[in-house]
Symmetry: D2
Subunit: 353 residues, 4 copies
């Protein structure tokens, strides 16, 4: 189990390196008869792709998905959906300087030790370019869950954060700015800060908040495959993620039970929602919300000391076109992974009573 598949019934298996021929995957278990909205899929690809704005990497990639199977006359057939995204813009020359060098806080060293071999071009499989397959699959997963609304947004960049509960935000404004922060004032501050960081040749971390609405009661499994455990794994599997919390999260660990318990209304909804829409691992019909922490990108344009294969200390400096802050481009990835988790539990739930 080499860890390239995600999900049980609605399953994505992905392949591809940053600078190989193509990335892609297979979506296995998509129900038959779904009329696909291809524009919606391409929109998600466009949201993820580099070069969209002044604050993200200036690499140009078209990121067009080509579907190879499983779709007939615009509808899913129940057969596996194979797809590829060609690497049209790779510049392998850009990366020869890292062939024998282990970049700090990158995966170079561990790949070399684990596998005895490493595709050093652009990070190979460890590149965040791998997430392109997740976005394709997530965009299809969303289409089998039409009633559920999935909205992610940037809630902090460095020390700058939105100081409002998500209920006070207008999600329709998420795409109105380059940072994908629905609060305009905060977005402006974040954008300015990222530009400053880029000038310094540095990078900065941030957090993404995601809200899942209209999730039916009953998704998730009681013990190991709790809904929040799968969401957590899904998010932690995204490059650069360092933490996950849902509902009251780490703050909840400071509270008393009498403060934290969500009392019921007579219709089964709750007056508060510190639980974050999940009880005992199963959705309870309230909003599900969670927060994901991203570290600053390891590639920076400043000189750093590191080691090469022979263990000699060498100086290196990032080249190429990297994001000074990943969180804006990670927003559609977070949504895609949430959609994959929900689609899987949605199908499993059909078989349980």
């Amino acid at each position: 189990m080499a860890g390239n598949s995600f999900g049980t019934l609605f399953k994505l298996i992905s392949f591809g390196e940053s600078h190989g021929e193509a990335l892609g995957g297979i979506i296995d278990g998509c129900p038959a008869g779904i009329k696909l909205d291809f524009q919606a899929i391409q929109n998600e690809m466009t949201r993820r792709k580099p070069g969209q704005s002044a604050i993200v990497t200036q690499r140009k990639e078209d990121d067009e998905v080509q579907f190879l199977s499983g779709i007939f006359e615009g509808k899913t057939t129940g057969m596996p959906i194979g797809f590829t995204v060609l690497n049209t813009n790779e510049k392998s020359g850009d990366y020869s300087h890292i062939k024998d060098v282990y970049r700090p806080s990158h995966a170079d060293y561990v790949y070399e030790k684990k596998y005895g071999i490493r595709d050093y071009r652009g990070g190979g499989r460890s590149s965040a370019r791998e997430t392109v397959s997740r976005v394709v699959a997530g965009a299809i997963a969303k289409q089998i869950l039409p009633q559920i609304k999935i909205n992610a947004f940037v809630s902090s960049v460095g020390e700058i954060f939105i100081d409002k509960p998500y209920q006070d935000l207008d999600f329709s404004k998420i795409e109105s700015n380059a940072v994908r922060c629905p609060d305009e004032n905060t977005a402006k501050k974040m954008e300015d800060f990222i530009k400053e960081i880029r000038k310094e040749g540095d990078s900065v971390g941030g957090t993404i908040t995601c809200v899942l609405q209209n999730v039916p009661v009953g998704l998730g499994e009681p013990v190991f495959d709790k809904l929040h455990a799968e969401l957590g794994k899904a998010m932690l599997s995204i490059n650069a993620v360092k933490g996950f919390e849902y509902g009251s999260g780490f703050c909840g660990a400071k509270m008393k039970g009498s403060e934290h318990n969500d009392l019921y209304n007579s219709d089964g909804t709750t007056k508060t929602n510190l639980s974050g829409g999940i009880q005992g691992g199963i959705s309870n019909g309230m909003d599900i919300y969670f927060r994901v922490a991203f570290k600053p990108v390891a590639t920076i344009m400043q000189k750093q000391e590191t080691i090469n294969k022979d263990g000699n200390l060498v100086e290196m400096q990032g080249k190429g076109r990297h994001d000074p802050c990943v969180v804006p481009r990670a927003v559609p990835i977070v949504e895609a992974m949430a959609a994959l988790v929900l689609a899987d539990f949605y199908l499993i739930n059909k078989t349980q009573k």
Copy 2:
């Protein structure tokens, strides 16, 4: 996939409800020829069991594990290890008052809606008593990983926290107090606070920190099954957990790349360890450390308003013997789940080059 199994090669499948005949499980994939230390297994059971001290639930349970298969003349045979832990002390009468009531922030309501039926005695499968099977399997997992050291401890209760890095703590003191906090002064404060909370009939949350040492380079998979993603899922699957972070965690999201990158020494170790011992999802040989947030227990001894099956508002008050703070007893559970994750990746790693 009803979510009662954990792991791929070293796999635990568990069963059992709080007040049924027995809990138990099957460990499938344990390598043959391991001479088991049964005392060590029972010790972990004893660490988890209720009634150990003044600050945990006063229920008495012997929690003796009985092994039914897979062991011959004291050694594992490579066959599945079946085991049971009898429920000797259940008092079903204690729970009749919740038969038709949905307790706030419990799983009663979602079980009823998802399955159309619910074993209401003591929470049934949603009870934390389920974790007894995890502790058995984790104790065996530890024995196939002899060189790895796994130490978890309580790092905060409510607002009280250890204000030192884990490197300054003496792990041999974890078991020296009822809270399982290796810093004696902090432990004392936590213990006093928990006693106070109990008097109020309330409960309080907390965090556990876990440190994995001597982990070989190369455990974990590059994409979906990153080492920290599986650790995160493992922890989030424990009852009452609301958050997980590893290495720099949520703090890392505030940092710059120039601060966060871990520079190498010439032997491949790093000068700092904000990465938390994992790069690109794969262990790098440095200490792995992570933190887990637990909410306050939902069962409190104060009156609360809730609803019954008919949607009528009713008043209820917790009965029985519950923990005012789960984190002390959750320490061995966190360790057990970490051991399960490591054992699985340890076996997978044998097949990859």
Copy 3:
């Protein structure tokens, strides 16, 4: 993946050795709300158990199943169903003579080489006693498939076989004789032959035919998990099985397409059924029928030469109480495995359009 689980959504994980404390298993994924018929389960256990008649082993085992979880007030709850069957009649003394000896055509040698250790008492995990768990799970699987009829019967013993198509047999007579052959004349011949074989201290092989009726159209998956591929694996996983064929089977390999094709009636049924109720791996609504070949039991009461651990040739003779012919007792096992396959595909099929 140590191979002790079967199924994807309706899953059995089993444990236990012939002479350990107990055998048992966990059924994970059984839908909630099924009112179980416990008498029907015990009946299947009784059909499988030794000592039923003059032509099977005279060992006495009660084979009572104890359910430990997943059932509340007589109904399934959607939680894992743990169960055990105690080994009440084991006589470990009977087996000391084989401790250091590799019995011909048994698994002793390969277990020793593969695992470096072997529970030699009664064959340990390789004993057909392991199938007791399959029968429990199969009996529950049948109860979630109420409309489907599953009938297996002995179709040959040695050279004696039923020379009629299954359509001419009365399945209600299967249990009317000790051989479980619905054709009375043939049954009598088989029974006499088995008695003779037993007197010789020998054993004999046979075949079982199984017919699945009222299977809805649509069970099975197109490619690797074809319905007949899973049925084949299920049957081949039963001890002593050497072959599997369905529909026209090996005879079909001699035929022409113009003879073999099943022409349609206007309602979608077919005029002939050489396909055996499955097209492209998916049930087509016609009867599914298949045949399973069992070798003669390896334990015989005659002297045989074999080797011991040191590679020395030694003479041995079977002791204990063994079946001269396994097929009568294997009938309920074949049915149980068929039920497990159908239940799994039945649940999967709910998620596919």
Copy 4:
């Protein structure tokens, strides 16, 4: 679990329809550092491809595999190996006549009923063209098992069969004739017969025998995942297969234990090998041999009555270029599936003691 993946640690996930853009797959879990012999892979593709000789279909397909990932500088990297095989020669016009018709003994009807939609072009996913992905993966699996020899050959066509044990055959002659039968006289008869059948516009079935040599002791799992159970499933998952037997097979069901038992030599080999190289589901180091039955191809060039979507009886006649007998082209597919099974168990076996 839509059934498009095969294997646990060495895993193939496949996609593609007969007349879609491309077929292909992902090989997940291939160990790192294997220097691939690409010519050997292409050779297997060529063995499987149509149009090779006068007795197989005259469709021309290049069947060139393109690898998209997981390989760097000629070696596997441990990352998933994505690959595609383009459909360059499809002629969708050829198939419009079957759009609304259910061909006898094809999967048209069951796909329509199961999924409510069907890609009718050339059988879509149910076409044997799907096996191209199996051959690619199998050719790579062979390369991680260098010491094992895998030889399949046609052992019967219709009533014509090789009347010698496999030990008397020269496997180097398998590729010397169009039928892939190593016995030259029999091959000639088979070839003549197939030509005759083709003239009649008919088709004929046959069997393939496969011999696995130099398999180390210890592959396979004791209970559900017995080596022969997985081989059986693998073979039964190939289009048109109706039966599987190994070792003594169906003949073994007629024998006595005293005839069937394989007595040991002092080195652990056996004097006879009716067991077929497997004891208790685990390889014992002797030759593994098995036989696979293929039905006659359902598409024939004769007029047949069938039904259309509306249930009306219509007359139809096969068009296009079909094999009158599949077994010659199925030889490399049988070998590929055997290689996949062995590679998986080979990796699993590394983790068991």
